[in-house]
């Protein structure tokens, strides 16, 4: 489903990603973790080309990501993304946020798009907020709307870039519950997060990154019980220590 082969990326002189090789199968759930600045957000953003790599190959759903705009837009409509800071469109209502892309990218009739939007709002437990503006919702509600917005495009892959990091603690669970639900339905997911409980519950594989490299990749049981490298041990002790 997703193939990263020998991918390198630099910001000026700073090498953000070093020789990344990662292959994600259909239906697989991968959690990416690591200290801040380790390149995990950059890596996930390569998958829908919000970041551009300088060497190597990124292939999503059989299409290689290049400068060709059409193929990039095609991939983006198949890959849903949820951001740390929600990035809902503040000038549109929740319902308009959810129907805009299906109508204008998928050319779905408006009525159908609205029915679908209401259905996904139901799944993330906030159908009653459809006609409000994002600014009127709590952080947890906004992030659930953002997930529903991505799902309305019926994506084949969902990317989550630290979806709970900007949330108050009491709102984290409601968002994670939605994500767990999604994982159970068999969605292919790549998730950058520090929620190790979530990783234990849903991940097929945990990818640990540090300084732009993939240091370890293993099933969660293995990774948490017996990390192979010192860097992973140090990271786990810091994150689980408190």
């Amino acid at each position: 489903m997703i193939e990263l082969q020998a991918v390198n990326k630099w910001y000026g002189d700073f090498q953000a990603l070093k020789n990344i090789n990662l292959s994600i199968a259909k239906g697989e759930k991968v959690v990416v973790c690591g200290p801040s600045g380790s390149g995990k957000s950059t890596m996930i953003r390569l998958i829908n080309r919000l970041e551009v790599h300088q060497s190597g190959k990124v292939v999503v759903d059989g299409i290689e990501l290049t400068d060709d705009l059409k193929s990039v837009e095609a991939i983006r409509s198949e890959v849903g993304m949820v951001f740390q800071s929600f990035n809902l469109f503040p000038h549109l209502t929740v319902l308009e946020n959810l129907t805009l892309a299906p109508i204008w990218v998928r050319r779905m009739p408006k009525r159908e798009a609205e029915e679908q939007a209401m259905q996904y709002l139901g799944r993330v437990q906030i159908p009653e907020q459809a006609h409000k503006y994002p600014g009127q919702l709590s952080g947890g509600q906004q992030q659930r709307v953002a997930i529903a917005r991505a799902l309305c495009m019926q994506p084949r892959v969902m990317l989550f870039d630290e979806p709970t990091s900007a949330l108050d603690p009491e709102m984290i669970k409601e968002v994670l519950d939605v994500m767990i639900e999604l994982a159970k339905e068999g969605m292919t997911m790549v998730c950058v997060t520090h929620e190790m409980g979530f990783a234990r519950t849903v991940a097929d594989r945990v990818v640990f990154m540090d300084q732009g490299e993939i240091v370890e990749a293993a099933p969660p049981k293995e990774f948490f019980a017996a990390p192979k490298t010192d860097r992973a041990k140090l990271f786990l002790s810091q994150i689980l220590g408190h």
């Binding site: 993304m81 990035n87 503040p90 000038h91 805009l100 990218v105 503006y133 994002p134 009127q136 495009m153």
Partner: protein, 361 residues
Amino acid sequence: MSLSRGAIGWSRENLFSGWGNTLVTLLIIWLAWKLALPFFDWAITKAIWVDPDAQACRAAKGVGACWALITEKHRLILFGTYPFEAQWRPALAVLVLVALYIISALRACWRPWLALAWVAGLGAIGVLMWGGVFGLVYVENERWGGLALTLLLATFGIAFAFPLSILLALGRRSEMPIIRWLSVGYIELIRGVPLISLLFMASVMLPLFLPEGLTVDKLLRAQIAMILFAAAYLAEVVRGGLQAIPRGQYEAAQALGLSYWKSMGFIILPQALRISIPPLVNVFIGFFKDTSLVLIIGLFDLLTTVKVSITEPKWTGYGVEAYLFASAVYFVFCFSMSRYSQALEVSLASSAARTPVKEAG
């Protein structure tokens, strides 16, 4: 508590708190009395309103205002040298324009049909002004003038400059170097030149470069120069708005697979233009007043017709009245724009709590 008690209390607190404040307050009241009263006397009580042969005005010179000048010359001032018996046509055209302004200002009318209304309205104005069909006598645009000309220059100027400025602002932020350089070059070049010199170039130099036999009339050349000028200024205002939109909005639009134009049109521009309303209106108002500069290339806009109205010997010497009148007309339009933009800001802001809320972590 009675109201008057409150007013006294308020003024005691704000105007007469201490001898310094009291002194300033009294001084201002005295000055206002000294200035406003004579002006009122001159402009209203001792003014001459109707006086076809300018005799009474001569007698009242220096004592009362000669508004009779406006009464006598209002047709010239409002419509310039447009054929006298056909001046109902520019009058109607002005009314159509004002009607278009008003329906455009009502949010309930912000529907696709508004664009059609503008096309139909401008078409009707063209027919009215030029004539030549439906039994209307043809009037070449050299004879257009006064308020009608000013409003047409300003309306067409903004109507074309605004979309152009959006393209320029997007171009300046484009990832394609050629488009970016062209936009920057255009904006910097036009901004670096006074409008007067652009108008001169359009009226004097441009015909020299056009091939023999091809002429573009003076009004159109002036209009194009004004559009090009206004677009450069507006582009920078729009760019300011674009820069204020968080990067996450661009990314979210991209991540949904929206193409560049769709993400600009649906996501970025609606937000960017909304926050740009105050500076946009600022430029619109400046531009409206700048249309008066066309007098230097011999077009009869409102200010020029006012000037012409006091050239007839019996009416010379009433420049104050004439220019006060012109100022009043300009003020009505500019002040309406200003008030409207304030009202629009408030209504857009209050229709919902629309600011993106970032949860504190």
